[in-house]
Symmetry: C2
C-alpha cells in the first residue's frame, strides 16, 4: 500500500459519518475524489485493495468496489483485472487562486461619476413587474427568444425612445442588449468584420473605450473635445471611419454637442461612408432646457444609438438597446446571438411591464427632482466654499467638471486623507492629451447633506 | 413657402390637439420632427416663417420661435438672423426595416433537442426568490458588481458544482456568465488573444460552434465522435491546441466520453500545452447510473468548465458559470467585463436564493422524474412501433439518437407533413462527415402523451 490511510487527517474529507443522511458509498466517493484532487494521492499511486479499504473503514467490500468502478468511469482511477487500482496518471491537483480583491472604497463621501442613486432603485415596482411576468408568462417566454430581444420590450422601448429621446426607432429596427458596454462591443465587432480599421474616441472620454476598441482589433484614435463637444475638423484628418461619442452630456466634460457639430459630424459620416456610435449617456436627466433629442434622430442611416437603463434604474439591471442603421441590423443581431444567445427573457418582460405601466416614467420624473436638488447643492456648496472654481457641464446628467489650477493627483490624494473621494480627468485623457487638470464631480449617488459636507471638507484644496 | 402646409394629411403627426394634455409647443416640436424625418420636408428645404406658421396653426409666434430654436439646437433646422429657417442639409429620412420574422414552428408535436420542459419552470420559486432579493438587497447590490460575478452566487454555485458535478471550484476561481454561449465566446476570445489558432470540435457536434470559433478569429477543426466520444487519436494530428466538447452527454449522439478517452484527452492537453473546454450539457439529468463527474474535476489545470441553468431551469434565465484553470482566470474575468460589464446583479442574487434555499435541487429532483418518464415513453413507443430502430445516447439528458437507414431529409419532410417535427443529424455534421443519417429525438419539452402520439404517427417513416 503506497499510502498511509491511517495518516489521513481530519481536514481531509475522507471520513465516513455513519449517522449522516448521506449514504456511505456517496461519502466514500467524495472523500476519495477529494484525496485524489488535493494531492494526497499522487498520480499513478497505488490504492489499497478493496478488501483492505473495506476492512479499514468497516464497510462492505462490494461498496468499495462500486466506488472504485465509478471513479474509474470518471477517469480518476485506473482499474484492470488482476492489477491493483491506481490513481490515474494524468491526474493533477487543483490550484485555484483566491478571488482578486475588489478595490476598496474606503472614503466616507465619494463623488463617483457615472452612478445613479443606488438607494432609489424602484424595488417595489420591480417586484410588482416580476409578479406580473409570473402571472402572464407563457411557456414560450421561458424559451430562448429572438436574437434581437423580446418583441414586446422592443415595441415598448421603441415608443419610449421616440417619445423621450427623439430616436427614430421601431421594434423591428432595434436589438436589446445588456447595456451600453455590450452595445458598443457588438457594434465594434460588426465594424471590424466589415473592414473598419480606426474608431475615433472623445479626448477626454470614456476610460475603457480605447481598450474596448483595441480588443475588437481596431485602432482607437483620440479626438479633442472642446466646449462644443468633439472637434469634428480634427476628426476629418484621422482616417477613422467610425466615431463613438456622448452627444447629450459628454463624459467627462459634461458639454452638449453643439448644433453645428452635430451637422458637421453627420456630414463627416456621409463623406467617409462612416458610422457614428451615440452613447446616450445619462440623457434622461436634464435641468436647464427642454431635452435635446438624440443625434440618431437626425441621421438614422449613419448613427447607431446605444442606450441602457443603468442610469435610469440601476446598473444591476443589465438591459439596454441598440438602434442601428437598417443595413447593420442583421449583423448586429447575429453578433448578439453569438455573444450570449439573447438577454434574459424574464428581465426583458419585467422591464416591459415597468415601462408600459408608466412606473418607469414616474421613476424618471421623481429622480429628475432628486438629481436637480443634488445639482443645486453642489453648485451652492462650491459657490460658497470655492467661489472662483470654474464648474461646467451642468445642463444634464449627474456629473459636472471643475477645472483645476492645483495639481490633480495631489488634490485627490489630499481629499482622500479627509475621507472624500474625488475623481480626476486623468483616467479619461489620452496619453498625449494637453487638456487641463480637473475634477469630475459625480453627484448621482450622494444625498444633499453628503454633497454639502464633502465640498466643505475639501473646498480649500480646489481653490489653492 | 416651399411646403404646402395645408397639404399635410392626418397620418402625419403634425396636428395640434387643443384639448390634449400635452402642451402645444411639445406637440408642435414632435410633429415637426416627424415631418422632417419622414421626408415630407426635404433636406435644405425652406420652412414657413414663424409668423406664418403661427397664424396657420392658431398659436402664438413666440411658441413657434421657441420650437424652431429647439429643433435648431438639435440639428434638425438651420436658422440664422435675417435668413429663412431651413431643414438641415444633412437630414435623411428613416429607413427602418421590418423585424426579421422568426422561423415558424408549425408542427403540432416537435421533438426539438436541447430544450427543457418550458412549462415546468419554477415560476413560484423564482418570484419567491425575487422577493427575498428585494427584501434584503443593499444599495451596493444595485451597483455594478465584480466582473467575475456576485460573490454570493459564486460561493453557492461553487458548492453546488462540487457537490453535484464533481467540479473543482471555489468562489475565487470562477466567472459568472450568461450561459454556455457567453462562456464559450469569452473563452475563445481569451484563447485567440493568447495566440491559439485552431480549436477542435466534435463531429457531429454543436451546430453553431464552428461559426462561433471562426468569429473569434480561430479555425474550427472537426474531430470524429464514435461510441466512446471524441476520437482523441485523431485529435492529435489536427494541430489544434484547444478542444471543445460535451463529455457528460454528447451533442447530438448522446454518448458519454469513456474513461480511457477522458484520460487520453487530458494527456493530449498536457502534451500540446492546450486546453479542453467542457460544455457540461444537460448533465444534471442522468438515468441509468450514478452521475459521472465532470472532466474538469480530473484536470482543473487543463479544463475550462462551462455550465448554465438553461437546462436546469430554462433558457430565459441567462445565467451560467465558467470555471477556468487558474492561469486563465484573470483574462476571462476581463473579457467578461469588456463584453457586458457583468451579469445582472438582481438575477444573480435571485439564483443564489433559489439554490441556497434548496428550491433549485428540489426542482432538479422533480424534473429528473419527469424526464425519466418521458424517456421511458420514448423507448417504449419506439420499441412498439419501430422495434428494430437503433436508439442510443439514453444515459443522460433529454435527447437520444436514432440511427436511420432511410433518407434523413426525406424522413423529416414526411414527418412534417404529419405535423411532427423531427431533427436530423445534418446540422450537427461537418461538411466532409461520413457519419450515418439519424434523428435526434429531444424529449425534454414534450409530455408523455405527445411523445407516444408523435412516435406512433411517424414510426413507419423511421423503419422503412
Amino acid at each position: 500500500m503506497a499510502i498511509e490511510w491511517s495518516g489521513l487527517t481530519p481536514e481531509l474529507a475522507l471520513r465516513l459519518e455513519r449517522d449522516a443522511d448521506e449514504p456511505l458509498g456517496s461519502q466514500l466517493r467524495e472523500a476519495l475524489r477529494d484525496a485524489l484532487r488535493s494531492g494526497r494521492l499522487s498520480p499513478g499511486e497505488r490504492l489499497p485493495s478493496s478488501r483492505t479499504l473495506a476492512a479499514d473503514l468497516g464497510i462492505s467490500r462490494g461498496l468499495v468496489q462500486t466506488v472504485y468502478e465509478q471513479l474509474s468511469a470518471e477517469g480518476y482511477l485506473v482499474t484492470s483485472a488482476g492489477a491493483p487500482t491506481r490513481a490515474a496518471p494524468a491526474l493533477r491537483q487543483s490550484r485555484v487562486e483566491p478571488a482578486p480583491s475588489v478595490g476598496g472604497r474606503s472614503v466616507a463621501i465619494d463623488f463617483t461619476p457615472g452612478l445613479p442613486d443606488l438607494r432609489s432603485f424602484p424595488m417595489r415596482d420591480w417586484v410588482w413587474a416580476c409578479r406580473e411576468v409570473a402571472r402572464t408568462a407563457s411557456a414560450r417566454d421561458i424559451d430562448y427568444g429572438p436574437s434581437a430581444g423580446s418583441l414586446r420590450l422592443r415595441e415598448i422601448a421603441a415608443s419610449y425612445l421616440r417619445r423621450v429621446r427623439g430616436v427614430v426607432a421601431d421594434s423591428g429596427g432595434m436589438v436589446v442588449t445588456t447595456g451600453f458596454t455590450q452595445g458598443a462591443a457588438l457594434t465594434l465587432a460588426v465594424l471590424k468584420a466589415r473592414g473598419a480599421r480606426a474608431v475615433a474616441v472623445e479626448d477626454p472620454g470614456h476610460p475603457a473605450m480605447p481598450s474596448m476598441i483595441r480588443r475588437a482589433g481596431l485602432q482607437a484614435v483620440p479626438v479633442r473635445v472642446d466646449e462644443e463637444g468633439m472637434v469634428v475638423d480634427e476628426l476629418r484628418s484621422t482616417g477613422a471611419t467610425a466615431a463613438i461619442l456622448t452627444p447629450a452630456h459628454q463624459t467627462p466634460t459634461g458639454v452638449v454637442l453643439s448644433p453645428a457639430r452635430r451637422l458637421a459630424l453627420i456630414d463627416w459620416a456621409r463623406q467617409v461612408d462612416g458610422l457614428v456610435i451615440e452613447d446616450d449617456y445619462d440623457s434622461e436627466f436634464r435641468y436647464d432646457k427642454s431635452p435635446v433629442g438624440s443625434l440618431q434622430g437626425l441621421a438614422p442611416d449613419r448613427v447607431v444609438y446605444l442606450g441602457s437603463v443603468s442610469k435610469a434604474l440601476g446598473p444591476a439591471v443589465r438591459l439596454g438597446w441598440a438602434v442601428p442603421p437598417a443595413y447593420l441590423l442583421r449583423d448586429l443581431a447575429a453578433e448578439k446571438r453569438y455573444a450570449d444567445h439573447g438577454s434574459s427573457g424574464l428581465d426583458q418582460l419585467t422591464l416591459a411591464w415597468l415601462m408600459e405601466s408608466g412606473r418607469y416614467d414616474r421613476h424618471l420624473r421623481r429622480m429628475r427632482k432628486t438629481y436637480a436638488a443634488r445639482r443645486r447643492t453642489l453648485i451652492d456648496s462650491l459657490a460658497a466654499h470655492a467661489p472662483h472654481l470654474p464648474l461646467t457641464g451642468l445642463d444634464a446628467g449627474f456629473h459636472a467638471l471643475a477645472t483645476l489650477v492645483t495639481d490633480e493627483a495631489h488634490t485627490i490624494a489630499a481629499a482622500a486623507e479627509r475621507s472624500v473621494g474625488l475623481h480626476g480627468l486623468t483616467p479619461y485623457r489620452s496619453p498625449g492629451s494637453t487638456s487641463n487638470a480637473g475634477i469630475v464631480f459625480g453627484f448621482g449617488n450622494l444625498n444633499e447633506s453628503a454633497i454639502a459636507q464633502g465640498i466643505e471638507q475639501i473646498a480649500d484644496l480646489l481653490a489653492r
